[in-house]
Amino acid sequence: MPTLQHISEWIYTTHLSTSIRQSPYSFPAIETIHTLGIAAVVGTVAILDLRLLGLVMKKEPVSRIARQLLPWTWAGFAVMFVTGLLLWIAESQTSYSNWAFRTKMVLLLLVGINPLIFHLTIYRKVNTWDLANVTPLRARLTAVSSLVLWAGIIVFGRLIAYVNS
C-alpha cells in the first residue's frame, strides 16, 4: 500500500497536477465532462439492465440491444476514464486517504467484474432466451447488481468532495 501512497504523492507534485489545481476553471470543467460521461455510461447500461428485467424494449432481442448500445457505452467510458484520471491527478494526494474515493474504486472494480461474469456464463446461451420478456434469473440478478453498483458509484463519487472538506 505505501507504494500507492508514494505514487499518489509524486503525481501530486507533477506539473499537470498543479496546473489543474491552480486554474480556476479546469477542475469544474473536467468535472462536468466527467459527470456527462458517467451519464452516457450509466444511462446506456441502465437501458440494457431494464431490458434484462423485461421493463423496456421487450420486443427487441437482448443481443441486438446490447450490440447497439456497446459502442456508446465504451465512448462514454473513455470520456469518463480520461476525465476521471485528470481529476485524480489533480487531487491524487487527498484522494488516496479519502474513504469515499476508496469505496468508489472498489465499486468500480466490482461493476467491471459483473459484466465479465455475465458474458462468460448466462450470456453465452443468449440465443435461447434472446426474445424472452422475462430473462433467466441470473441475467436479472446481473441487471439488478449493475444498477445498484452504478448508483453506489455515483453516490460515493459525489461524496468524495464532501469528505475532503
Binding site: I38, A39, A40, G43, V56, Q68, A151, V155
Partner: protein, 160 residues
C-alpha cells in the same frame, strides 16, 4: 419576476424548505438522487437523439425508440425536477440571483419544449414521412447541445 420571487420566498419558508436548509444531510442526499436521475435521463436522452440522427438503435424505428424510452426520459426529467425543487427550497435566494441558475432554468424550459415535443410527436406517429427526417435531425442536435449546456451551467451554479 415578482411572482417567481414571491413563490421562492414562500418555498423557502415551508417545512420542506426549512428542513433542507437545517439538515446537514438533506442537501447532499437530494443532490445524489439528482445525479442518479441525471445518469438515467442523460443516457436515454442521448439514445433517443442518436436514433433521430440515425446513429444508434437502427434496428428499431424512430417511433419505437421514442415510445419505448419515453417513460425513462419523462421519469428522469420528473425525478430531476422534483429533486431540483427540493434543493432550491433549501436556500431559494442563493439560487434566484445566481446567473448560472438563471441561464440553466431558461435553457431548461427551451430544452423541455424542443426535446419533448419531438419525442412525443415521434412516439405517437404511426409512420413518419421521409420529409420529417431533417426536422428530427435538427431537433436532436439542438436537444443534445441544450442538455449539455444545462448540465454545464448546473455545475457552474455551485462555483458562483
Amino acid at each position: 419576476m415578482n411572482v417567481l420571487l414571491g413563490l421562492s420566498h414562500w418555498l423557502g419558508h415551508t417545512h420542506l424548505g426549512i428542513f433542507v436548509r437545517d439538515s446537514s444531510y438533506a442537501f447532499p442526499a437530494i443532490e445524489m438522487l439528482h445525479l442518479i436521475a441525471l445518469a438515467v435521463f442523460g443516457g436515454s436522452i442521448l439514445l433517443v437523439d442518436l436514433r433521430f440522427l440515425n446513429l444508434g438503435f437502427k434496428t428499431q424505428t424512430i417511433q419505437a425508440v421514442a415510445r419505448e424510452l419515453l417513460p425513462l426520459t419523462v421519469g428522469g426529467v420528473a425525478a430531476m425536477a422534483i429533486s431540483g425543487v427540493l434543493m432550491y427550497a433549501g436556500s431559494p435566494m442563493r439560487y434566484f440571483h445566481n446567473p448560472a441558475f438563471q441561464v440553466k432554468m431558461a435553457l431548461f424550459v427551451i430544452a423541455l419544449f424542443v426535446h419533448f415535443s419531438l419525442q412525443i410527436l415521434a412516439a405517437r406517429s404511426k409512420s413518419l414521412p421521409p420529409s420529417r427526417t431533417r426536422l428530427f435531425r435538427t431537433a436532436a442536435v439542438a436537444s443534445l447541445l441544450l442538455w449539455f449546456a444545462i448540465g454545464f451551467s448546473g455545475r457552474v451554479i455551485g462555483y458562483l
